[in-house]
């Protein structure tokens, strides 16, 4: 049960506004977002064997949705090819990871230095 909560199957994903089947296939083929597993006969198979699965069986992490949407918007709105989109998405993800990491480190640092916020 909890698996389905944090994952989303391909068919459900394509019901979300602005997400079309062919575009999702492009997004995956260019490695922008990877399925985390696939579903066979309603059983969830996790792992890297995704290559053998049909696209209709793909299973994505729920938090991937926002990146898939971003990728598709960038591709359509700015008319940029998928390779460039892949690079942009990767950098945006790195940026978001770094921001999170920075927030964490600042919080930790504040336990060690005087509580003045500015260093």
């Amino acid at each position: 049960m909890s698996d389905i909560l944090i994952n989303i199957p391909f068919t459900e994903l394509c019901k979300i506004e602005g997400i079309e089947r062919e575009l999702v296939v492009d997004v995956v083929e260019y490695g922008i977002v990877e399925p985390i597993g696939y579903v066979v006969d309603e059983r969830v198979m996790e792992g890297r064997m995704v290559g053998q699965a049909e696209e209709g069986q793909w299973l994505f992490e729920t938090r991937s949705i926002v990146w898939i949407q971003k990728a598709i918007r960038l591709h359509l709105d700015l008319d940029i090819d998928w390779i460039a989109v892949a690079m942009v998405i990767e950098l945006l993800q790195q940026k978001s990871d770094l921001e999170k990491e920075n927030e964490r480190v600042v919080q930790l640092l504040q336990r060690f230095v005087d509580s003045e916020k500015t260093l």
């Binding site: 049960m1 389905i4 909560l5 938090r63 709105d77 945006l92 964490r104 930790l108 336990r111």
Partner: protein, 321 residues
């Protein structure tokens, strides 16, 4: 309704050629695209720029716009589309546009665009023909760090926006959600069909819960590890001690060896956050603290120590100079 000067929006002259318009659009679209620009008004600016480009890149629409511009600049104050203005016929069914490769953004445009170029009819027709899926809803779900140790059940309350164009007030919803063990900050939980109801037989949208792990007064989280700052008095650090420390799973005792420096980490395996696949560790990080005041007796003892000790804490400095 305001008249929109598309030339001004793109920053081009009114006699600019198609190439200059395209270049100006690309530059601005790249700058303001809401997926790369996190400023508040970026999205509005992007829409404006996209709208301007939709008109100016097309010879017919551009000619129409030039006509409107002559009219609009004369009429000062609020803008009204000239009576009897028809707009181009083919813009009524703008399929031709959206199928062109690289036609760009086709989202919601301003009232001015809709009245001048008839974009409004599009969305209207669509909703007449087939059921519309309800909107997805996203809400934040604060979770305490302790709650992530095992599956927990949380009540949530939210308001479903009505699907009849705001005529009916929203519906209050109460749900109980099973939050899986080991959820992390930023993760999303999806509840199928718990979003806005669809209309015309369309299916309901989904509800997304955006997990926000509430900062803990004692513990920090790094990946799956849990960090605790461990304050020690200088003599505790010097002589070593045995103390009881709090962890997420209760108190445990920790032996601090003699000569423990500030910043030293004590790792307690397997006492961090748990998911199905990984179990993190618990890390206690030493921070040496001083009493706010020192008694005369203690000061005498420190004096004695200072006189006796050869240790140079700034050895590195003198070696370099």
């Amino acid at each position: 309704m305001d008249f929109k000067d598309y030339y001004k929006i793109l920053g081009v002259e009114s006699d600019a050629d198609t190439k200059a318009i395209k270049t100006a659009y690309r530059k601005l679209a790249r700058k303001y695209h809401p997926d790369v620009n996190s400023e508040k008004d970026a999205e509005d600016k992007f829409k404006e720029v996209a709208e301007a480009y939709q008109v100016l890149k097309d010879t017919e629409r551009r000619a129409e716009f030039d006509e409107l511009k002559k009219y609009g600049s004369r009429s000062g104050g609020g803008y009204q589309t000239p009576p009897g203005w028809q707009g181009s016929q083919r813009s009524q069914s703008s399929q031709g546009y959206s199928n062109q490769a690289g036609s760009g953004y086709e989202g919601d445009f301003s009232d001015f665009f809709n009245s001048a170029f008839g974009g409004r009819s599009q969305g209207f027709n669509q909703s007449q023909q087939r059921g519309v899926r309800g909107q997805d809803i996203e809400i934040e779900l604060p979770v305490f760090l302790e709650e992530t140790l095992q599956q927990s059940e949380k009540p949530i309350a939210y308001i479903l926006p009505s699907s009849q164009g705001g005529q009916v007030p929203g519906i209050k919803k109460n749900l109980k959600v099973k939050v899986p063990q080991g959820v992390m900050d930023g993760e999303k939980i999806r509840l199928v069909g718990q979003g806005q109801l669809g209309s015309n037989g369309g299916s309901a949208g989904d509800l997304y819960l955006h997990i926000r792990v509430v900062p803990h007064p004692l513990f920090d989280v790094s990946g799956h590890n849990v960090l605790l700052t461990l304050p020690l008095a200088p003599w505790e650090a010097a002589l070593g001690t045995k103390i009881t420390i709090p962890t997420l799973a209760g108190k445990i005792s920790l032996t601090v060896p003699p000569n423990t420096p500030s910043g030293k980490k004590f790792r307690i395996k397997g006492k961090g956050l748990k998911t199905k696949a990984v179990t993190g560790d618990f890390l206690a990080i030493v921070k040496i603290v001083m009493p706010a005041k020192t008694s005369t007796e203690s000061e005498a003892l420190w004096q004695q120590l200072a006189a006796q000790e050869q240790f140079d804490p700034r050895e590195e400095w003198s070696a370099k100079s």
